[in-house]
């Protein structure tokens, strides 16, 4: 009998494995603890925050790990290729994407826990392929990289909930097409993270309409020593469409100024490539 039972253990294991496989995996006991070492943004944050013309379906199209522009160096997280066409409903043509946690959150929840004191910069590789000259009203157009800065501005408070605001905000711009800025060739860019920026978005902990978003108490908030304790938007890019290059449908109306995007004739697409978007505990190299 004992022999038979011993012989049966593979059967029991198979049955147990079958039962386990027959259920949905548990969503309890997911990894805990704040982010405190260098991480790829795409490992925790989703590029779901399409902004500007990205809100018009099909005007900003993104793909992860497909159509990426090759480059050298470390490969951390996903690479991305975006294609951008201007809207055709006469609103200001610009677009951008936010990598947020959780996906599709604009500050309705508190974000991902982070020990922001450990981080020194956000780095990423990027290239932009677009029409030339890449200008609006003869002025250069910056490609803006940003970290933090999500602020619902009372949207959820008006629905009886709390607003969650990013405690951190930092951004840098690089002119598109400028050899010192962002071009069609993949280059690495750095957004430094100062102590001030790590707490620039902190909210008064006594404000009942705002979720706690920073370390410390009222004194820290008042003295400016509070720092973000969670992160909603880890990274974003945004840029304007180069309206100077498009032809206007009506020769009597200058569609390049004001908001006349519906008059653009066959506006060429802009391609944006991103890779290796990382929150880094190492200082950015000297410029």
């Amino acid at each position: 009998m004992r022999y038979a039972l011993c012989r049966a253990w593979p059967l029991r294991m198979a049955a147990a494995a079958l039962l386990a496989a027959g259920c949905l995996p548990s969503i309890a006991d997911l990894p805990s603890g704040p982010l405190n070492s260098t991480f790829a943004v795409s490992d925790f944050f989703a590029p779901s925050g399409y902004m500007g013309d990205g809100e018009y379906f099909g005007k900003l199209v993104g793909a992860a790990n497909e159509g990426c522009r090759p480059r050298v160096g470390l490969k951390r997280g996903n690479c991305y290729a975006f294609t951008y066409w201007p809207n055709d409903v006469d609103t200001d043509p610009w677009a951008g994407v936010f990598w947020v946690f959780p996906a599709n959150s604009w500050g309705s929840t508190r974000g991902r826990a982070i020990d922001i004191s450990k981080f020194k910069q956000i780095s990423f590789w990027a290239a932009v392929d677009g029409p030339s000259p890449y200008t609006v009203g003869q002025n250069s157009v910056p490609f803006v990289g940003q970290a933090g800065g999500i602020d619902p501005k009372g949207r959820y408070v008006s629905e009886g909930e709390k607003d969650y605001v990013d405690g951190v905000i930092t951004s840098t711009g690089w002119n598109v097409g400028d050899p010192k800025g962002i071009t069609g060739e993949m280059r690495q860019f750095h957004i430094p993270l100062s102590d001030f920026q790590k707490g620039a978005g902190c909210q008064d902990p006594n404000d009942p309409n705002k979720g706690r978003n920073c370390t410390g108490d009222e004194t820290n908030f008042m003295t400016g020593t509070a720092q973000a304790s969670f992160l909603i938007g880890a990274f974003a890019w945004a840029m304007h469409y180069p309206t100077d290059v498009v032809k206007c449908a009506d020769p009597n109306v200058d569609c390049h100024v004001d908001q006349h995007s519906s008059m653009f004739v066959d506006p060429p697409p802009v391609h944006i490539y991103l890779d290796d978007i990382v929150w880094d505990t190492e200082e950015a190299p000297a410029p």
Partner: protein, 647 residues
């Protein structure tokens, strides 16, 4: 495109093998059929086997089960009379066997077997023995393999009788009933590619493989899909998700407007083709190669930030929309796989049916923001197609068991199905990548087969009479459909119960009550702990009351033999069905409460000239009214089935 090529290639190869193999196999079968030896002499005077049938009818008719048991006890006492010829004893044993089967005795088969031993010559006794496996035993399906053994034995004995020159008129009826029963046994298989089991069947078809192709075409313009999903749940779930903070509800445009809700209640055009190549091999069971193609037009929400692509102006702000693009996108699903089923007679314990499939699934148009049929024009004249194809594995296991409890019968069914997406959502953060759906269900059906006392107005006033029926069924069950979206789990549960009455004459009815709940939970993945929370904004419940009235114009059991054939087809069944349903919200929003009523025609045709291929045709019209939205939908369905499965 790849799947189409695959299925075509596979189908072509299989067809080629079958075409090449069929003629030699058929000639072997024909040659074998000609080798039947003349029947030996009967062990007594040759008796009409319908003696057994008639005596059984007389002993049961409108009697109670207790009275039937009394008849049975008497016949058991008369069994041991000395000096009776084998043919007489065989008829007595046959009547006892039929009575035992009727009252649910587990040893009924022993008496059928003794009857066949007592008279090994009479083909009709084999027919009654076979009908025990198709009419009494089985679970959701007849026990086909032992039934086949005896149906083909009947055919062999008929051929032997003919060879011996002792053919009687009643043998023609036995032959007709046997062939009809075999045709019904194979009715779900489809068109027979090989001749062995095709109508008119011959004795040597037993061990030969049955190879057939089945195909079902379904077209519907309906709010309900082909997978029995509840449209109240679908529309309410869609609305609540769109209303959530992480979709339109979280934007400055807020909750869905009245027109958006009105647009969500929809009845898209749906088309499904299900094909199967079935190999039936006694005693192994049936093996299927499966292919399914589904297309639904304008059915899927592809952007929950604006689920109906409405160009609204909310507080002077224009909601981002895409003029010229459809409100909903198409979806397409292709499936290829293998299936198996067989009923195993395990009495004195129970009958067990094992059925399962393993399938590969390709889905287009399901992933949000990746619509299937939308093409975005590039300035260079090319098009960008945002569709993202999902490749999934589908595993289904459907065990069932049944057992007689006295004259009644209990059937217990289980379902386990998993739709697994091995790749998940590869571009999402790792914790959000997993996609999996698991359905678990259990149900029971208790069939009351004892004669019932029913009301009648036949004598000008309300009176009662006792009559056998096709069964009064009490049923109930639970179903849990869990779907994992990364750290979120959507759990839908159904609890249902009801009554189904299949009357003695022409009227059947079903009354069912279903309580449905839908909840969403999510695991805390923000680094603050490992708790699981519910999303109250995504929870709701409802009840559905369903009443179905069915009138049998022509019942499948009207003709024990093949039905009269006109133009090569005989009508085996014609039913008029009138379903009525009411969805009522219990908790959560009730915007999609509705009533629905309709009429359907169900008919079954047997194509005698094409190997007994059986067709099931269904056509229906329904009207559904969402009274809180003041929206009515006129819907229609058409199904042509040549071979089918669970309906």
């Amino acid at each position: 495109m790849k799947t189409t090529r695959l299925s075509r290639a596979a189908a072509t190869s299989i067809a080629a093998v079958l075409v090449l193999a069929a003629p030699p196999l058929a000639s072997v079968a024909r040659a074998a059929a000609d080798d039947v030896a003349p029947a030996p002499p009967s062990p007594g005077p040759e008796l009409n086997p319908f003696e057994c049938y008639g005596r059984y009818q007389y002993a049961t008719e409108n009697r109670t089960i207790a009275e039937m048991r009394h008849e049975l006890a008497q016949r058991l006492d008369w069994l041991d009379e000395a000096g009776q010829p084998g043919t007489v004893l065989a008829i007595k044993l046959c009547v006892i066997a039929k009575l035992k089967a009727r009252v649910g005795d587990a040893d009924a088969w022993d008496y059928y077997a003794r009857s066949l031993e007592a008279d090994p010559v009479e083909p009709g006794l084999e027919l009654w023995a076979a009908q025990y496996w198709t009419g009494h035993r089985g679970v959701r399906r007849p026990v086909a393999e032992p039934a086949e053994v005896h149906y083909y034995a009947a055919l062999r004995k008929l051929e032997a009788i003919k060879e011996a020159g002792r053919w009687k008129e009643y043998h023609a009826i036995v032959e007709d009933w046997v062939r009809h029963d075999l045709t019904v046994l194979y009715q779900m298989d489809g068109f027979p590619l090989l001749p062995f089991k095709a109508y008119p069947q011959r004795s040597r078809g037993l061990w030969a493989p049955g190879v057939s192709v089945g195909s079902q075409l379904r077209v519907a313009k309906d709010s309900r899909d082909f997978f029995f999903n509840n449209e109240y749940r679908q529309f309410t779930g869609e609305m609540q998700f769109a209303n959530s903070d992480i979709r339109q509800g979280g934007t400055q445009f807020g909750q869905l407007g009245a027109r958006q809700k009105w647009d969500l209640a929809r009845a898209p055009l749906r088309l499904q083709v299900e094909n199967k190549l079935r190999i039936r091999q006694n005693p192994l069971g049936t093996f299927d190669v499966l292919h399914t193609y589904l297309h639904q037009w304008d059915s899927q929400i592809y952007n929950f930030y604006n689920p109906t692509n409405a160009c609204r102006i909310v507080q002077t702000q224009k909601e981002p929309c895409s003029p010229g693009q459809p409100a909903f996108s198409d979806i397409q699903v292709q499936q290829i796989g293998l299936g198996y089923e067989r009923v195993f007679p395990l009495y004195p314990l129970f009958d067990l049916r094992l059925a399962g499939t393993v399938q590969r699934v390709w889905r287009d148009g399901i992933v949000e923001f990746h619509p299937y049929n939308i093409r975005i024009a590039n300035p260079d004249g090319t098009f960008f197609v945002p569709n993202r194809r999902e490749t999934l594995n589908l595993y289904e296991f459907k065990p069932s068991l049944s057992r007689f409890l006295g004259a009644d019968k209990l059937v217990v069914n289980g379902v386990w199905a998993m739709l697994d997406n091995p790749v998940g959502t590869p571009d999402a953060p790792p914790l959000e990548q997993l996609r999996r759906k698991v359905i678990r269900a259990a149900s029971f059906e208790y069939g009351i087969y004892q004669p019932l006392v029913l009301p009648t107005f036949e004598y000008g006033r309300l009176s009662t009479y006792r009559t056998p029926t096709r069964g009064l069924y009490v049923f109930g069950g639970v179903m849990e459909d869990g779907e994992l979206w990364g750290t979120h789990e959507v759990l839908a549960r159904d609890f249902y119960g009801g009554l189904r009455f299949e009357g003695p004459h022409w009227i059947d009815w079903t009354l069912q009550e279903t309580y449905e709940t839908t909840n969403t939970t999510y695991g805390e993945s923000d680094g603050f702990g490992g708790n699981v929370y519910s999303s109250p904004g995504q929870a709701f419940s409802s009840v559905r009351t369903t009443f179905i009235f069915q009138y049998r114009v022509r019942s499948f059991d009207t003709f024990p033999g093949m039905p009269p054939s006109h133009g090569g087809f005989g009508s085996d069944m014609l039913n008029l069905v009138f379903p009525v349903a009411w969805d009522k919200g219990v908790s959560g929003p009730n915007d999609f409460e509705n009533v629905r009523a309709g009429g359907q025609v169900w008919t079954k045709l047997i194509g005698e000239g094409i190997g007994g291929t059986t067709f099931l045709l269904t056509a229906g019209v329904d009207y559904q009214y969402f009274y809180r939205l003041q929206k009515g939908l006129v819907m229609g369905q058409l199904a042509i089935r040549m071979g089918w499965g669970d309906l």
